[in-house]
């Protein structure tokens, strides 16, 4: 794989690349995380070279899943002129799923990503986060576990963005003296033609990455086991979702939840007085808001194939329910049973759009 090194920090390296693309009119605009208005961050679309100085693409914060944002942008039509999109691996995987579900289009998008060290929870205080950045980058380099990060990142095995066109090597790499860039695809090579006279050879495989992957996998297995869902029964479910206020923030933030009208917000799922009366006759007492466990079980049937373990759901939950840990665990099992890996291969059909004549014989008779 072609590679080159820029003697700059990861963010400045991305800036150099994007500036090259904009200047040479290879792309018309940039999608990236930026610093906006007094140290706030947000995803932004930028066409002006001058404003590129604002971008902070590797700043460890995910305020929205970029896959979902790009889906909003391309749902009706593909973008007309090329856009360079900088996003994290799980965001790219989410986007690939959305493309398969016909919620997004990839034409004219160039993907820049990086081996990902993870992000902080959104609820981390601004100053607090700034103070932890040094330690963060130290941990990205060594691949050591960092307790302050999102749980989903601490257990993420898929932090290498296999489907990106251009990949910065961050996790497991020392970026103090510069940042290595890999050109993963033909498309990436086309866009970057002329950025260098000569390229080095680079690879996405390394024992360091394997070690990090191994450690995160171990952590994941432990985290999943510690949840003890196998002992839940309805009591356990009620218990873990006990503080759910049915705000549906988890679904709004989730890239896999793409319905314009969610069933759980439709008139169909509204409980009218007669429903309450019937329930009360049976139970003598009901919990309000109603239908929290129902919502989660139902949502699992909808996102189980597609969940990419991005952690947005846990991060936005106002009552600190470990939504993503639960959803990732159940989804992992579903995906295994259906031999499906979300976000990996555009050609691999989503499980609900295909079938075999003979399969799952143990559930039918």
């Amino acid at each position: 794989m072609k590679s080159f090194k820029i003697p700059k920090s990861p963010d400045d390296t991305v800036k150099d690349i994007l500036l090259f693309l904009l200047k040479n009119e290879k792309v018309g605009s940039i999608f990236a995380l930026s610093k906006v208005h007094n140290n706030n961050h947000a995803y932004t679309l930028i066409t002006d070279k001058e404003l590129l100085s604002n971008i902070t693409p590797t700043y460890p914060l995910m305020l929205a899943n970029a896959g979902k944002m790009i889906s909003r942008l391309t749902m009706i039509e593909a973008v007309k002129s090329p856009v360079a999109v900088v996003l994290r691996p799980c965001e790219l995987r989410a986007l690939f799923e959305l493309v398969k579900l016909e919620q997004a289009k990839l034409d004219n998008l160039l993907f820049v990503s990086f081996t990902c060290g993870g992000v902080f929870p959104i609820k981390t205080k601004k100053d607090g986060l700034e103070n932890k950045l040094k330690e963060y980058w130290e941990n990205v380099k060594t691949g050591e576990d960092f307790q302050e990060l999102r749980e989903s990142c601490r257990i993420c095995e898929n932090f290498v963005p296999d489907n990106a066109d251009i990949i910065l090597q961050l996790a497991g790499n020392d970026t103090n003296t510069g940042t290595s860039v890999l050109i993963k695809t033909e498309k990436g090579a086309g866009f970057l033609e002329g950025i260098r006279d000569q390229f080095d050879e680079g690879s996405l495989e390394s024992t360091t990455l394997d070690t990090i992957r191994g450690k995160r996998k171990e952590r994941k297995q432990k985290t999943f086991a510690d949840l003890k869902t196998e002992d839940f029964g309805i009591e356990g479910l009620i218990n873990i979702f006990g503080r759910c206020i049915n705000c549906h923030a988890c679904s709004k933030a989730c890239p896999a939840c793409y319905c314009k009208l969610c069933y759980f917000e439709s008139a169909d799922s509204e409980s009218d007085p007669s429903t309450f009366e019937i329930e009360l006759k049976k139970r003598k007492a009901i919990r309000l808001p109603a239908d929290t466990v129902f919502y989660h079980l139902g949502r699992l049937t909808h996102v189980g194939f597609t969940c990419v373990g991005c952690g947005m759901c846990s991060d936005v939950c106002p009552t600190n329910i470990p939504v993503s840990t639960i959803f990732s665990k159940v989804s992992e099992r579903i995906q295994k049973a259906f031999e499906y890996t979300p976000g990996k291969d555009l050609e691999e059909k989503v499980p609900m759009s295909i079938f075999e004549m003979k399969e799952f014989e143990d559930v039918e008779d």
Binding site: D231, F232, G233, I234, K282, R283, A285, L297, M357, D365
Partner: protein, 142 residues
């Protein structure tokens, strides 16, 4: 309690096969458990796992989904998707230790009145053995 437990079983029956089989069972004077409440759907694939979960959480003791045999769906392939949905639901239920035994997916064609009677009787007996859905009368749920 256990002796006079009369289960409440919901049966989602596909219009073209299993519902017709239920009719046939009736006109052939075959026994069908009185504890079965049927809901006619145009195809077994109309049943979203969400419907099954909803029935279960509201206290149904058992849920039967019955449709045409694979290959015979009136809409060609609907029931293959039904099976996938059902397998998906199973995985979720299993992961939470939620009694997948209370759900059954059976293929019963329009001419199988006898099979309809057998499947429903067998399922009803199975549910009677399992006992009532513990969620049925539980306060502070839903």
């Amino acid at each position: 309690m256990a002796n006079n437990f009369k289960p409440n079983i919901i049966g989602f029956l596909c219009n073209w096969c299993s519902y017709a089989a239920a009719d046939l069972a009736g006109s052939s004077k075959l026994e069908v458990p009185a504890t079965l409440t049927t809901i006619r759907v145009m195809c077994s694939s109309r049943v979203d796992p969400v419907h099954i979960i909803s029935a279960y959480l509201q206290g149904a003791d058992g849920v039967l989904i019955a449709g045409c045999h694979p290959g015979d769906c009136h809409y060609q392939t609907g029931n293959y998707y039904t099976r996938r949905r059902f397998a998906l639901l199973h995985k979720i239920m299993e992961t939470f230790k939620l009694d997948p035994e209370r759900f059954r997916l059976s293929w019963i064609s329009a001419s199988e009145g006898k099979r309809f009677s057998e499947v429903t009787k067998e399922f009803a007996e199975h549910i009677e053995k399992l006992g009532p859905n513990p969620l049925k009368n539980k306060p502070f749920i839903e």
